[in-house]
Symmetry: C2
Subunit: 199 residues, 2 copies
């Protein structure tokens, strides 16, 4: 195989859920396309790689030359609520559902002994200053509902509690909408029973 | 969402088997990566887009500035056999299995009324000249074993037969290695019965 094509396939294969075979298909589709999709994609990607950077306040990816992202610039979102999420994908998911109208704070991961993620690797230290600056009154945790997510949540709370008297909340756990009990795992059922609502 | 990120996701989403959700994941993985994978991929892709082109003889993607691909340059492959395939992915599949040691001819698709693929869209017209030039004695069809593949095969034979007395063959049809009869479709069984071997 041509070494340039081989190199390109290897790069694509490393992308999430692509793999060796998917990388081959993608590279063939791009290079055999007569409308110049390969060059077009390279241009857009190179442009994004140089001009996109995390917002210095919240971590949402935005234009490098603007001093704040679309959420931090939007004054109607300064409602005192701050939603702590793991990454930008979670922001997009919440935005798609239109459930939250405050500001976000991306911490960039969850604490994990196995993966070697320590507090210093996460965007947590800037949180107390941000809470004071933006007059945050409630922190809503929307971290993964896992041991790592909960550990991270407790760590963030311990950091923030010392310096401010903000209120904390987390997303409810329980049976998903349309969820058939047959297919729900024991952990979720335990949480749903523990958090049952009086009618 | 930032318009540059949105544009990038759209371009990735159009790639084979990626889709909107996969595009988001890929773009996030690339732009949130701190080792500069986005810029690296853009460079490799842009390089390939400008420097890779189909071999003028057989259609295999190769360096634009070389006059023939790795197969056409390799004189040990000038054994009189020419394997007609649909696309480069099929060449790679055959090469991986090391079953064929002659030259390839990529026609770039199969005739299809539904998809609007006509003979002029395929790389067939150059075939008679190529057969004469390279003293081809056998054409082996490795096109998809479908109605469209067989139609294309017959069309290629009709074009070639007029000008040369080359021999034709096609890959055998039948039960795949390790194939359990329970799981084989009726069409394959019919072909396997029709082509049964006397022992």
């Amino acid at each position: 195989m041509n070494p340039k094509i081989e190199k390109l396939i290897k790069q694509f294969a490393k992308l999430p859920r692509v793999g060796a075979r998917g990388g081959q298909r993608i590279v063939l589709a791009l290079l055999q396309d007569k409308t110049g999709r390969a060059a077009a994609l390279a241009t857009v990607l190179s442009d994004a790689a140089t001009s996109i950077a995390p917002c210095p306040r919240c971590g949402v990816l935005t234009d490098r030359d603007s001093d704040a992202c679309e959420f931090c610039r939007d004054s109607s979102r300064a409602n005192g609520q701050l939603c702590v999420v793991r990454d930008l994908a979670d922001v997009w998911t919440l935005e798609k559902a239109s459930v939250f109208h405050g500001r976000y704070h991306i911490i960039g991961g969850v604490l994990s002994g196995a993966a070697g993620t320590m507090p210093d690797d996460l965007n947590i230290a800037s949180l107390p200053a941000r809470i004071a600056d933006e007059k945050i009154t409630e922190i809503i945790f929307a971290l993964p509902n896992t041991v790592e997510g909960k550990t991270t949540q407790h760590y963030v709370m311990s950091i923030v509690q010392d310096s401010s008297d903000v209120a904390f909340s987390e997303l409810a756990s329980g049976v998903p909408l349309g969820g058939d009990l047959d297919y729900i795992d024991d952990g979720t059922l335990t949480l749903a029973f523990g958090g049952r609502k009086t009618l």
